[in-house]
Symmetry: D2
Subunit: 327 residues, 4 copies
């Protein structure tokens, strides 16, 4: 492969009311607001030296414009364009300056229809890692991963592993060895990109990294204190898969955010992906809690990179089951 | 009042298999085993200088023999005998030496039929508070409280407050100001003894104090690691009432134990009891999680101090409701 | 004894610049500011329902006006007046309304010359315990204790234990069994009042309770972030004596504050005081760190209840040594 | 560069008494003992799927045989051999089977004289990450980095960055822009390999990663409980540089181990190395604590890959200063 994707770097997502979102993301969860205008809010974690990792865009309807990946070199964007074009996939350039703080950006739809973007350059800003007086809520450190529901996980898996160079850390399989869900990474953590079987493509959640587990307990306390108890959807709990300590919350528009800490280093190329049996009861959520139905059923649609219309959603090829260990 | 009850000090409870219970209480939860014989196991927390705070007694059927309270002076036992006799309640002496490590003990049935015992003297042993190499599982520090289901909470409340000298820290009331549940204390914490409306008298749970919240997260992880994930019944979560961070687990016989940390000092006599409205949605469990039905329905029977037979159970005078803030 | 002291309840102390103190106590350490005027600032912890536990008074020179104790009943103030007068000690009444939020108050000098005050009544305010969005810095919960240097610890010990009804939890003794330091309590914690051998009487520090140990780590980080790294005098560390996890900081006027969490329940009247040998190396600060000289040498003077002049300071009767386990 | 180094993967180090070392590393610190024989002990962290990350070798005198790096492909070993030979550096092969659990290994001396080894293959074993019942002491997760004192940091820096492909995350410089210390990484953390100015080459410490900060507090408590309080050399504290929460301990042979948690992700190639001024007081250890002299002066010698004799030690080219921010 003559290109190198570094990591998932941002998500661009619609919200209906920027002030309402600011209250949730900044005041309650503790994101840093880099800057905002009437149409956008640019948020980042305390550790992040880049301009933002989450763009909230004012719009009437929910939807995700793009999952953004950072690449190693500017020229890799051109290589990626050729790859996607050779596969007959839609591509689109956004020139430097067209998007706040971003260099030249390639937008595409991936093999499941998910809108991706690739860029090499993002402006940097002051890192707040040692500005502890600014720590509040969940003390968000950085973007960690996205998880998408897709109708054909194996197809997505093969494309990301074989064409884009991702490695698999863990996966779940049916008894006849069909891949039901997969955790894929470029950076040296459990995942940048997960896929799970379901009506899709839809964005299931964006995961943000926290530096230690009490941040999650404090986040629950703060959310409840300021009136967001109902935003807590699942957890706190321990994932069997990935080993992370987690909490899932829903933002005021219903977008799902995972607070996540405590997975492991995946630097070694000879790390053998961990297989979880879809029906093995010992593989459930580590502490045995069940996830609510909403967690399996609800997700955010993606938007077409050209038209802005919702990407059409397909039924999954495998049975819609609700194993409790999926994360 | 010419007697002074110090605090709840122990519970004597049946289990079917002492080895099975040792595995749960000592190996998984981290209790210290002071000593055992073929019929009993004596357990304590790391902070406790007294011989034990939990006695497990080998028996075919579950049941609680007594909730034990420590009094300030030996003569207070005689005063208490007179009080209970004057109210027509059954009393019974157990002489020093009759029970392991205990001085002279008065057993009675309280106004709800709960078997209580009072004693002044218990042998002391080495305190393990600074033997950190022995810390494991939930790192149990000390007994904190018991919670009992009774059919008439107001009757119990009046007896404990007016006759036994307990103070109330918090309570829940119906719209017509009937007390639905109450948290009563002698020592300077939120409770030694709680009562909640329900079929009773039954022991709902015994609460043990932990020194910090990560002990609960680690306890969940250890319980799951050694095969007790299904013992986790509710939590971890934050109680609105009491503010404690909690986990409820069920021992192998179904007895419920609460791991509990983070309430507040109740030293001040002019602290006004906090009232919670039974139907006020803002008063729910702080993070908004629901408790499972088992938590409301299942509890351990008490045993008669003379016959050892189960104390008969009455339906509650108030409606059986399941408010989510009850702790 | 026909009076009952509940607990140490407040300290009234001079500072030079109220804004500078606000920045330290409120913005950095996380105290709640109940109210202020040009001459006073009234601070409390998140758990405290009473109006304040620390009064900072604007003045040119440092000094402590009083250590305040809450008593159970109003009439106990009169009993205490008689006790102090019978011992030939100076007393002084401050009527209700004379001090912000306080009922009638008796000020005295104790046997070491320390200005004490006793009161039964203090106005109550909203408790912020579950206003987690207000938690910051050290997340101060409540006042816990004061520690005073006095020239004759045994004399102070005898007065507090025999005349005022305090109990001793732990003490250090010389090889010839002279008491070198003592930890005395009325509420059910390790101490309300500690005494250590030294030039005195002087206030060594005021201890505030935190609910869990990571609050201390976060307090260090915040203090350093906002320019108060040099305020950190000792710790974080574990006290052998009391078992608490601690940090000592110096406010902008040099007054010493201890952040303190994790001691144990002292409810039992038959708890035998723990003796520490002054020269036993195994009794040192639990992790073996040395305290700096400033910690042994520097303290805040007390002020006369009538004249406001500094109470004169005497040399200690025992040798001035620096055992490392003193807390 | 036509080779790729993955990460620092192990250290092979002498100790005098394996049982004494087991007590320290396994019983107190919580390492997992993979296996041992009369001459070696193989240790790993709870997260590690590889056979070991620390080899203790029984010997009369202290010394480090090799710092081991894992490479991406077997053939990269041959490329590295050519590189070192072309620079006139000593190389030596150890065939597969010659060392426990290891494939073919290339040993060399680097430009400072440090014995390195490179290998691609190490046997894998059960990962204990979710065996929480085995967690104890510091709950060691994995090897993180090594820090070496060398007489010429710039020379080492240039060799590792320009010849071996390391990236620099942070560094300290003198007023005339000479590099006094540097933090270099291959995996996506702050460092695999740090260099600091001093008599060398010597191994200053091996850093092991923990998953959260309370593990360090608990490690201190356990070390003190079992008699290793004097092994605690520095900390706990927060590094300004790297932002990690740390503790330094000395093993029974004087080798230094750092317990380390909380640095940041260094995945981005455009991350600009953070410069710290050697004399800027604001750059000191974040909380302002001083490191003891032993921390600056004492370190473990390296051993020649052929003779086993101590590698000779040179005086540093820059002044021997003791800035407090060095980590």
């Amino acid at each position: 492969m003559d290109f190198s994707i570094i990591r998932v770097a941002r998500v661009v997502m619609n919200v209906k009311d920027l002030d309402r979102s600011r209250d949730f993301y900044v005041n309650a969860l503790g994101f840093v607001e880099t800057e905002s205008d009437h149409e956008h809010m640019y948020l980042r974690g305390l550790e992040e030296h880049c301009h933002h990792s989450l763009v909230l865009k004012k719009a009437e309807k929910p939807g995700v414009h793009a999952i953004g990946y950072k690449v190693r070199e500017e020229s890799h964007l051109d290589t990626l364009e050729k790859l996607f074009q050779s596969r007959g996939m839609k591509t689109k350039w956004m020139e430097k300056g067209g998007q706040k703080a971003l260099g030249r950006t390639l937008r595409v739809h991936d093999i499941s229809g998910i809108p991706l973007e690739f860029f090499c350059e993002m402006e940097t800003v002051e890192r707040m890692l040692q500005r502890y007086e600014m720590y509040r809520g969940a003390k968000i450190q950085r973007i960690d991963h996205v998880n998408c529901m897709v109708p054909d996980v194996e197809k997505a898996y093969n494309f990301y592993v074989n064409e884009l160079g991702f490695a698999c850390s863990e996966y779940t399989a049916t008894e006849d060895e069909r891949i039901w869900a997969a955790w894929l990474h470029r950076k040296q953590t459990v995942h940048d990109q997960a896929f799970m079987n379901g009506d899709g493509p839809r964005l299931h959640h964006i995961g943000f990294w926290l530096s230690e587990p009490l941040s999650i307990i404090h986040a629950c306390d703060v959310l409840a204190s300021v009136g967001y108890a109902s935003a807590i959807e699942r957890g706190p709990g321990r994932h069997g898969l990935s080993n992370a300590f987690f909490l899932y919350v829903r933002d005021p528009d219903g977008n799902r955010v995972e607070l996540y800490t405590g997975d492991y280093l995946t630097s070694d190329p000879d790390f053998k992906p961990i297989r979880w049996d879809l029906d093995d009861p010992r593989r459930q959520t580590f502490w045995g809690h069940k996830a609510p139905d909403s967690w399996f059923d609800e997700a955010t649609p993606f938007l077409d990179i050209d038209t802005g219309e919702e990407v059409s959603i397909q039924n999954p090829t495998l049975q819609r089951r609700k194993p409790e260990f999926v994360i």
